[in-house]
Every structure is written in C-alpha cells, then in structure tokens.
C-alpha cells in the first residue's frame, strides 16, 4: 500500500495553514484525515496525483472549507476553559478558602458601611485591582506572542485560549463599578454595602483564577488535554 511521504505530510500541514487553520492540534487532525483519504484513493490507483486528490478531498469540507471545524473547536476549547474556571471557583466555597472569602465580604461591607473614609479605601483597592489586571493582560499577551515563536508553528488552541481569555474575564473588573451605580440607587445603603462587597470579592476570585492559578497550571493541563505533546519532538 502506498503511503504519504514525510514531505507530503509537511505539505498537508502547510495546506491547512494556507486555509486559515492556525492551531497545531486542529491542523494535526485535519492532516491525518486528508492523508487517510488520499491513501484510500491510492489503494485503487496508486498513480493518482497527490495535489489533485488533496483538492478533491478539501472540497468535501464544503464551501466554508475548514472554518466550521476551527470555529467549533474554538467553542469547545472555550467551554473547557470555563469548566476549569468553574472547578477552581468551587474550591473557594470549600474550607479553608471559604474563610478568606467570608472575611473579604465582611471586610468590604464593614469598610463601605463606614461611608466616606471606608469608601475611599475600597475605591483605592479597586483602582489597584484594575492596574493589576491591565498589567497581567499585557504580560500574558507578551507570553502569547513568545509562545507562538517558541513552538515554531506548533501553537495549541487551548494555550491560546489560556493566554487570551483574560481579556474577556478582565472586563469584569469594570462590573463592580457598573453595579455600583445601579445598586446604590435601588437598594438601602446597608444592603448595597453587602451586595457590593460580594461583587468585589467575586471579581477578585475570578481574576485570581484567570491570572494566577490557571496560568500556573497551564503546562500540566495542556499535557493532559493534548497527549500528542508527549509524542512531539518539540
């Protein structure tokens, strides 16, 4: 049986990149699919031209080419990422972390109930949080660019999600402020203080997970999701 040569496999990777598949994990699956299909044609007639068969098989993906596959894969990986965030967040409802959460809610409520001075302290803490979030976003963006270079084209989709989802979650830093204007007008002040303290604590937990915990566990998680990393000669 005629098999694809190493050069032809390289050509298939190049072909997927030319058709806007940037991530190595998605490329790898498509390369094997195209290669298997071409080899099946060769079983019947080994003299058929490689490039002609490649175009024939690519057409089977429909008018949008590989874009449906990439899009769905992106959604699947984002879903996986949010499951990881949820799993980490649930840890904050268990001992011992729940003690810190309860203390944070109490502290912020207490400060807000002190009115002026307390409010200035809380606002200062939130400004510091915004600075930290922007600092981490810029840092992760740099890492993301470096990774792309280091991996020499073998950049995995989940790694991209890990390093870039912060932008979406980072936006939540604004949320306590947005809620502030709504809650302050609609709730009696003592309830508002508790609700606002809850929101601040929630945004702190979220940022801690997205910018600290998950980036620290990134490599371990990537190896679990992508068993091929062990087979790679990176």
């Amino acid at each position: 049986m005629k098999n694809l040569s190493a050069e032809q496999v390289v050509r298939l990777y190049e072909f997927t990149r030319q058709h806007y598949v940037e991530y190595y994990d998605v490329q790898t699956e498509l390369v094997d699919h195209l290669a298997s299909a071409i080899e099946k044609h060769w079983q019947k007639d080994p003299h058929q031209n490689f490039e002609t068969l490649l175009q024939k098989e690519f057409k089977k993906f429909g008018i949008f080419g590989f874009s449906d596959v990439v899009e769905e894969r992106q959604q699947a990986m984002q879903k996986r990422y949010f499951q990881l965030v949820k799993k980490e967040a649930l840890q904050f409802l268990k001992l011992p972390k729940v003690i810190i959460v309860a203390f944070s809610i109490w502290l912020f409520s207490f400060l807000l109930l002190q009115k002026e001075i307390g409010f200035v302290i809380v606002a200062s803490i939130l400004v510091l949080e915004i600075i930290y979030v922007f600092y981490r976003l810029i840092q992760l963006q740099k890492i993301s660019k470096q990774r792309r270079k280091q991996r020499e084209g073998k950049y995995y989709l989940l790694e991209h999600v890990f390093l870039n989802m912060g932008r979406g979650v980072g936006g939540f830093v604004i949320s306590p402020w947005q809620w502030y204007w709504v809650a302050e007008k609609t709730l009696p002040y003592q309830y508002f203080a508790v609700v606002f303290a809850l929101l601040i604590t929630f945004s702190f937990i979220l940022h801690y997970i997205v910018f600290r915990i998950l980036p620290a566990k990134k490599e371990e998680i990537l190896h679990r999701v992508y068993p091929e990393m062990k087979l790679e000669k990176v």
Binding site: A35, S36, E72, P227
Partner: protein
C-alpha cells in the same frame, strides 16, 4: 445525498454508537464505517463530523488518544463512562423518535 438534513440531529448518536462498538476510532475511519454500514446510503460530511466530535469531547463524552502512524499523528476517540451513559439515553431517544415518525409516515389502520 440529500438526506443530510435528516441525519444531522442524529450525528452525535451515530458517533457514540459506533465508538461503543469499536474500542476507538479516528475521524476518517468513522466516515468510512458509516458509509460501509449503510452501503453508501449515508455519507457523513467532513464539515459536520469534526464539529460534532469536538462538541462531544468538550462535554466529556469522549476522550482522546494519540498514536504515531507512519509519519504522522493520529487522534483516536474513545467513549468515557459519561459517554457510555449518554449513548444509552440518546439511542433510546432516537428509537422513540423513529417509532413516532413511523407512526406518522406509516399509520397503523385502526380497528374501530
């Protein structure tokens, strides 16, 4: 084949069923297996197969295993325990659906 709209909702069920019968399969193998089982009556399009596989994987119904085959990597899909349970309920659902459709397309003559 114009039946793609008909099987679209059942694609995940078909994948789960095939994987339950065969220990592990890769994408191209699944398309070929369906073709073979249905004597070419049903063709799973590539553009539909991979999104369905990735969705099932993200939901925790499938796990993957990588193997080096010749000079490339191959991604095999396997059912997880949750996938096995999901397969059972989806097949029951599909069977009920087929019965319902049969009742509409081919109604049994009533005795009364």
């Amino acid at each position: 084949m114009s039946n793609s709209k008909l099987y679209k909702g059942s694609l995940s069920t078909i994948i789960l069923k095939l994987l339950a019968e065969t220990h592990k399969m890769y994408g191209y193998e699944i398309t070929q297996k369906v073709k073979e089982l249905t004597q070419g009556e049903l063709t799973i399009t590539e553009g539909a197969l991979y999104p369905a596989l990735h969705k099932l994987e993200a939901n925790g119904f499938l796990e993957v295993e990588m193997q080096r085959v010749d000079n490339r990597l191959r991604k095999y899909y396997k059912l997880t325990q949750a996938g096995n349970q999901e397969k059972v309920s989806r097949i029951e659902e599909l069977e009920r659906f087929i019965e319902t459709i049969q009742g509409i397309v081919n109604p049994k003559p009533s005795l009364g």
